[in-house]
């Protein structure tokens, strides 16, 4: 079993195994999106206070959850790459950064669109929104640092350090609604208590959260496969992949007739 796990960390086997996983993850993601959106946008009851415009929660909250989850994945795989020098960890960290930044941006924008009708303002500098914005800056910093250093291994280690320094922001985002007086509402689901949301609204929310997670997994594996090919382009297995039928010496001479 240990050998199986270790093989997964080899870029060559990762390429093969992830290629088989992507269709499964992708179709599950699509299914979850369809079911979740149908349940959330059509079946779920109307909010007694916010009416129909609360339904943006089904995009906003999963995007925010994913923005923090992806940062943790990036930081942890960066740490693994830093400590154990596993190439695949560096690749996962590098590929996760743009996806996480997109989720953060999506969370901020959908939150802004929700805030305008509900709070009367596009933006407010309360603790949660500010710390989520800082998260976006941290993501962009990691992406910028990764792009600025030519040698990919050194770039991975540098951005791993940066990601680890910034990981302190994640609990700040999560607990910001507890520690400060914020306009943003408090935790309704991710707390050690029964969720303070109706079950008919909670189920599509969880479905959408899983849909987003499967989306992240699919897109991450797709990007990681491309990155693996790019970084391992000088190795034999990539060569056989790209040129499955190498010209034999006989064919090579025949063109010089």
């Amino acid at each position: 079993m240990w050998a199986f796990i270790q093989r997964f960390a080899s870029p060559k086997h990762f390429y093969r195994i992830s290629g088989k996983m992507i269709p499964w993850l992708g179709w599950t993601c699509l299914l979850l999106f369809i079911i979740g959106l149908y349940y959330g946008l059509i079946l779920a009851p109307t909010d007694y206070q916010q009416g129909e415009s609360y339904r943006i929660i089904y995009i906003h909250v999963p995007a925010a959850w994913l923005s923090m989850f992806v940062y943790m994945v990036m930081a942890i795989s960066g740490a693994i790459g830093l400590i154990w020098r596993i190439k695949l960890s560096d690749i996962i960290a590098a590929c996760s950064a743009p996806i996480g930044a997109s989720f953060t941006f999506l969370a901020l924008v959908t939150g802004s669109l929700w805030g305008k009708p509900m709070w009367g303002t596009w933006w407010v500098w309360d603790a949660r929104l500010t710390s989520e914005l800082i998260l976006l800056f941290l993501y962009l910093g990691v992406i910028a640092l990764n792009g600025a250093i030519e040698d990919k291994r050194i770039a991975a280690r540098a951005s791993a350090i940066l990601a680890l320094v910034g990981v302190v922001n994640i609990p700040i985002i999560h607990y910001s609604v507890e520690w400060w007086n914020t306009l943003h509402q408090g935790a309704t689901v991710t707390k050690l208590d029964t969720p303070s949301i109706h079950i008919d609204m909670l189920i599509p929310l969880l479905l959408m959260a899983f849909a987003f997670k499967f989306y992240y997994a699919t897109v991450l594996l797709m990007r990681a496969r491309c990155e693996v090919l790019a970084r391992e382009k000088n190795s034999h297995w990539v060569d056989t992949l790209v040129n499955p039928n190498p010209p034999s010496s006989a064919e090579g001479h025949s063109t010089n007739a």
Binding site: L145, I154, V165, G166
Partner: protein
């Protein structure tokens, strides 16, 4: 003499030999603060509201601009690599360099800040708080900024990238410090904010030398 004192003395001596350069971040600080009355409003009522924030943001930017001098000259002539190769602990060497850097760039900011407070009509009750927050905050700026500089020192055009990396990490210091000064102007208790700044300083003092040392080894490899 311990390696900490050796490096501290070395950096301070080197800075002393380029005394004129010490004025650069200071002048930047003063000029930036002076721009705000010209741009926003010269009225004392308006300036009073923004005084603490303006002074703190200007201090932040001045600290960030001065960070480049931390490792640049040592990196370029190869002595940084030699320091990394010594049997002494690199975090201690880094801490010595950061302390020297703070003494050269942070301390002058703290000395000049009250005068700028007067320029922006900062209330007298807030003046002491301004100095206290700067005393607690500018070392954090040097320590955390050192991590960013260590990551970018090997890059050709690392200057703007440095601001991108380091400013998000500076934001908690800015929020607590500016808030403390603002609240103290109204006379309310600010011990919470000061404790938080102290906590940030402790965190930075104990952990950032290790991160900076690791980043330096990566940049030097």
């Amino acid at each position: 003499m311990s390696i900490f004192l050796v490096i501290l003395k070395r950096d301070l001596t080197l800075a002393y030999r380029h005394r004129a350069e010490l004025a650069n971040p200071l002048l930047f600080f003063v000029i930036v603060v002076s721009l705000f009355p010209l741009a926003v409003s010269p009225e004392s009522t308006d300036l009073q509201k923004i005084a603490s924030g303006v002074i703190w943001v200007a201090a932040l930017l001045a600290a960030m601009l001065s960070l480049d001098t931390l490792f640049r000259s040592d990196f370029e002539d190869g002595s940084l690599e030699q320091l990394a190769l010594t049997p002494h602990a690199l975090p201690i060497i880094v801490l010595a360099k950061v302390v020297a850097h703070w003494l050269i760039t942070g301390l002058p900011l703290i000395i000049v800040a009250p005068f700028l407070g007067v320029l922006l009509f900062l209330p007298d009750e807030a003046m002491l708080t301004l100095i206290a927050t700067l005393l607690l905050g500018t070392p954090v700026l040097s320590l955390v900024g050192a991590i960013g500089v260590a990551l970018t020192v090997g890059l050709r055009r690392g200057g703007v990238l440095l601001s991108l990396l380091v400013l998000p990490l500076y934001i908690p210091v800015l929020i607590f410090a500016a808030n403390a000064v603002n609240v103290s102007a109204t006379g309310l208790d600010i011990s919470g904010q000061l404790f938080f700044l102290g906590a940030l300083l402790t965190l930075a003092l104990t952990l950032s030398p290790f991160a900076t040392a690791a980043a330096l080894r990566i940049s030097l490899s």
